[in-house]
Subunit: 254 residues, 2 copies
DNA sequence: CATAAACCTTAACGCAGCGTCAATGTAAAG
DNA sequence: CTTTACATTGACGCTGCGTTAAGGTTTATG
């Protein structure tokens, strides 16, 4: 596909000004200029822009991004793997911040005490910035390429079709679950469909399916508060609702 | 405690320049000025700064932050609860970005196909900004105050001591688990301690404990890939290791 | 007791990463 | 053939500080 500034800005969610600025800086030049002087971007530029946005998300300056991208040693795939590592780190920081605000609420309500230092845990971007030196070198040396990707092991063993299907399924489970939750009836059609989709999704990871194990997993969604938070994030009570739907679906409870 | 600019900047992880700038803007004024003209901050200012940093983290301009904080209707606790909601949303966005990079890697390796649009999923901060209107109003109206806090329901029912204990315990589980993982022996002393800590942690959420349920939960940590990722994030294989340790601990397997 | 180190102050300029006009040209649709 | 929706190159403006300058204060140490 070929894109003009406007089209590319649309799909990337940025402004046309930004694209022209990146051109001006030499960080993202269009593939060619047409007869009217319009910037035309191709596939390579789309991918390059994605890299730019990842780096920007991680707080790098445009200067550094240019430096990295124009380096002869730049390799797309290993860069993506570095993005992955850094994004997980960033999520770790966010988790700390979330714990922070939870604790602060508890403290404001007089349920716990909290030091002033604790009140600022999770804000520090310093850690991320300092890691820039390490970033992509030390980490990989320390754990090796394979270990870094090991968490994707199950996904990696899949065919493209399976991968697509499992992604689609997990999204469908969520969508259906939330829609079903609105009805309030775990034995209803929507809720049972959610349970069925959940079963299909599970079968991509389980060697053999059993009703008991399925029902057990549903119970765990309620038993473990971290998992409850996962499902309840968008709709509180969704985890318990899913468990009830699964219990009915598996016939373990009427 | 009372702090000078330097001390406060240290514990908050920001620069002294920033503190003076916030003073200049009238967004965070010191509690008093001492005889030498030094800025002295007190407890109220520490809390206010924390609010400022939360809002800044969520992308608000200093102008808006000032507006919010100086409004007569400002309430600390409900602001904290709004921070909580927004931070969870932000983590959702981050999760999308992480999925994005994982898919992009798979695509680069030729395992799946991916549209150009998909390559920019998760970058959009627009969604967050657009939600600002809803933020804290619609959500609370729809589900009611209690429902919003329902995910914390279990935690809320705890005494300060219990809350502290459960937080400490979950950290200990992780630490002990990772240390045990290094030994490679799920029947070893460290691994069994991790299982014991895990049991203690569970008992804060379960009404009654049974070996079978505990062992079942351990199995679920491996069955559900999302949960596996939770434990495997720092050390791949940790989830399966914990399951094995629990199986031995509960006597369900030698 | 002096003096160096480590703080504090205000004032002013500088910079990145765009947003936002302005003035103008081009493509596609009715 | 005109309107509408694009495109172009400037150029100025803004936010949120970093940084330096030119100086006062406090504390530790020889």
């Amino acid at each position: 596909m070929e894109y003009t500034v406007h089209k590319l800005s649309q799909i990337a969610g940025i402004s046309t000004r930004t694209l022209r600025y990146y051109d001006e800086l030499g960080i993202l030049k269009p593939a060619r200029i047409n007869s009217s002087g319009y910037r035309i971007y191709g596939q390579a530029e789309v991918n390059r822009l994605q890299h730019i946005l990842f780096y920007r998300e991680l707080g790098l300056s445009l200067d550094k991004i240019k430096e990295i991208l124009t380096a002869s040693s730049f390799d797309g795939i290993s860069a993506l793997q570095e993005h992955h590592v850094k994004l997980l780190e960033k999520r770790g920081q966010l988790d700390i911040l979330i714990k922070n605000v939870e604790k602060t609420i508890a403290q404001a309500e007089g349920r716990i005490t909290m030091s002033d230092k604790e009140k600022f845990e999770g804000f520090k971007q310093k850690m991320i910035d300092e890691n820039e030196a390490k970033y992509g070198k030390e980490i990989r040396e320390k754990y090796g390429e394979e270990a870094v990707n090991q968490s994707n092991a199950k996904v990696k063993g899949m065919t493209p079709e399976q991968y697509d299907e499992v992604t689609r399924l997990s999204e469908q489970v969520m969508e259906t679950l939330y829609a079903a939750f609105q009805t309030g009836d775990p034995s209803g059609e929507l809720a049972q469909k959610a349970a069925e989709l959940h079963r299909q999704w599970l079968c991509y990871f389980w060697d053999s399916y059993s009703k008991e194990a399925h029902a057990g997993l549903g119970q765990m969604y309620v038993d473990d508060p971290r998992f409850t938070a996962y499902y309840d994030e968008k709709q509180p009570g969704a985890a318990a609702f899913l468990r009830d739907a699964i219990l009915i679906y598996t016939g373990m409870q009427k």
